[in-house]
């Protein structure tokens, strides 16, 4: 724990038999650590009677930030029934889940999804301190569900090695990437379902303040990437993004075929932690990256990531865009694709530079390729709207 937090174990059984001595002991420990944040670790607490609850209530009066971690299901129930969970943080003990030998079924910006058994999957977060991320994803997934987007809500938080994971029930589900990889004849059907869901997302109005604004995120990307572009191009990039009007419709933020699952006959959107609001051009930018941008320099990439080849990815992207725009003209499709590429490259350059891309020859070549394309595109367009 950090310097100004101490963790004190609660052990065995706390009842009227030993309440007085436990209270004295805890009071002494707290007095020794005046001013520190207090965490009671309930890992080895077997039982707590109301005499024990009263101790915690009294200590909390002088230490309002007091929290309890690692409560077993039985102990958590006691805290919940008596209303302690409503007045202080009580964290459950997390079940441990192993992903050894489990199939990877999805991978997103913040974590990887594994199937742990026939009916359940776990999303393991990259950030080892992911409890806040998990909470955020749960909240936005619930919001999406309320707003009519079919998605899975995690029902449990588990410990996976040193990371945390959230567990979802996903019965008999297959990702669209898997369907495309295994059955190329399904491509048109997949495109249609993919676009239907995309339209559903983009037509959903989100109450103000519930989700982050994608435009602000894109401004951050551009603020970084402009330093790697000629001055005029960099300034124009920022101007173009700034000129995109605020939009309160939902965007997924990481929409591709690994994040769309077919469960029996129902299509479900997963990996919801990037949910935001904004103009659809930001979404199209990230879709372009998922199918083409990431693998533009190295086509092996798409096979590793999605399980299908670049040609399938290209076809899927083109057909998706054409259907999404409902207007078949080549010119129109090209224009929107170019605008999506502006957003896409802006993000890719930042991402690659931040991950040390400039330190390898291949990385530099890749970044140069994107920079060249972006520079050219910026010269051709005066708006990102379509």
């Amino acid at each position: 724990m950090t310097d100004n937090t101490i963790t004190i174990p609660l052990q065995g059984r706390i009842s009227s038999d030993n309440a007085a001595s436990v209270e004295q002991e805890l009071t002494d420990r707290l007095a020794e650590n005046e001013g520190a944040g207090i965490i009671f670790d309930a890992s080895s607490l077997e039982y707590i009677s109301s005499a024990g609850l009263r101790i915690i209530l009294r200590l909390k009066k002088n230490h309002p930030d007091l929290k309890i971690i690692n409560a077993s299901p039985e102990i958590y129930d006691i805290f919940e029934m008596t209303g302690f969970t409503e007045m202080m943080t009580v964290e459950r003990a997390y079940r441990e889940v192993s992903i050894e030998g489990c199939e990877e079924i999805g991978r997103g910006a913040n974590g990887t999804i594994y199937r742990i058994d026939k009916d359940n999957v776990v999303k393991v977060f990259n950030n080892p301190d992911a409890l806040e991320d998990i909470k955020h994803e749960r909240e936005v997934a619930k919001l999406a569900l309320i707003l009519g987007i079919p998605t899975a809500i995690s029902y449990d938080v588990v410990k996976v090695g040193n990371s945390y994971g959230s567990v979802y029930e996903l019965l008999n589900a297959r990702s669209f990437s898997k369907i495309l990889a295994g059955d190329p004849d399904k491509l048109d059907w997949c495109v249609k379902e993919f676009v239907d869901m995309l339209r559903k997302i983009h037509s959903t109005v989100v109450p103000e303040g519930k989700l982050p604004d994608m435009k602000e995120t894109a401004i951050k990307w551009a603020g970084f990437t402009k330093d790697y572009l000629p001055d005029a191009a960099g300034t124009k990039l920022l101007d173009l993004i700034n000129a995109v009007p605020h939009d309160d419709h939902m965007i997924h933020g990481d929409y591709h075929t690994k994040n769309l699952e077919l469960q029996n006959d129902e299509v479900l959107l997963i990996d919801m932690d990037t949910l935001a609001v904004g103009h659809p051009i930001f979404e199209l930018g990230s879709i372009y990256n998922a199918f083409i941008g990431f693998s533009e320099y190295d086509e092996e990439h798409i096979l590793k990531f999605q399980g299908f080849d670049q040609q399938t990815a290209n076809t899927f992207w083109k057909k998706t865009l054409a259907m999404y725009l409902e207007d078949g003209s080549e010119e129109r499709i090209r224009e929107v694709e170019d605008k999506a590429r502006i957003i896409g490259y802006t993000r890719l350059i930042r991402r690659s530079v931040r991950r040390g891309g400039l330190e390898s020859e291949a990385g530099r070549a890749e970044i140069d390729l994107w920079k060249g394309e972006l520079n050219e595109l910026l010269a051709s367009y005066d708006t990102l709207l379509f």
């Binding site: 038999d17 007085a20 109301s50 609850l53 209530l57 029934m81 008596t82 409503e86």
Partner: protein
Amino acid sequence: MRDIELIDLHMHSVVSDGTDTPEEILSKVKSCGIDMFSVTDHDAVAGCCTVLGNLAPDDPAFITGVEFSCKDDHGKYHILGYNYDPDAQPINDVVALGHGYRMRKVNARLDFLKENFGFDFPKEEIDALLALQNPGKPHIGNLMVKYGYVSSKEDAINNYINKLHFKSDYVRPEEAITGILESGGIPVLAHPSYGSGDQLILGDEMDARLQRLTGFGLQGVEAFYSGFTPKLCKQMLDFADKYDLYVTAGSDYHGKNKLIELGDNNLPDKSDWPDRLTAFLNAVIP
């Protein structure tokens, strides 16, 4: 009469298991600004008589109190009695009944400790113990520490005194409730959600309990209590509505024996007091 804002209707003196004399309690109640109080010793009314004899005209409002430890086939209860006439025979009969049971237990425990572990105490210590209004396990534990048989009171209770299991007699809840009512008092269930102090009685179980006790004449519940969370308090206020009961507020102060402060009972500001508490105060203050 003074305006009443701070109240504490549940505290123990040396007459039972507290560490302050009734006089000390009166002085502390005054210094911490409590406007109305009651002393509620276990199975004893003597502390209240002492307070009554020491009250000055400007002192905080005082009502007589008692906390009977009760048991029947359904469980254990602590039943508070308020505003009874301390000279009335019925309540003194209940005190005598409880005292008799308690003395039998203390004697049985002392015999047990002597026979099984050879723990023996001077006659004057035993006489002093038996002369207490309300001797119990903690008093015996303290003696064992004093004479070097154990290092702590907890050790004494958990590892020696509690080894004796016997079916002890308790005052029955209907006996306590009837005695309080017949002495002009109001019977109130103490810290209801915590049973007799160390259980958790919630939901249907609490409902069944209140149905039985109100059948005997129970008139109130201690919904505001130092050990209650807002959720437990709310549950008891709801039960008070359901069974049309008075609501009271108490800390369960025991002096140095427990780390509860006088006046700590989670009662909100007067403007937010429930009507059922105001009704109780109106019923006991002329």
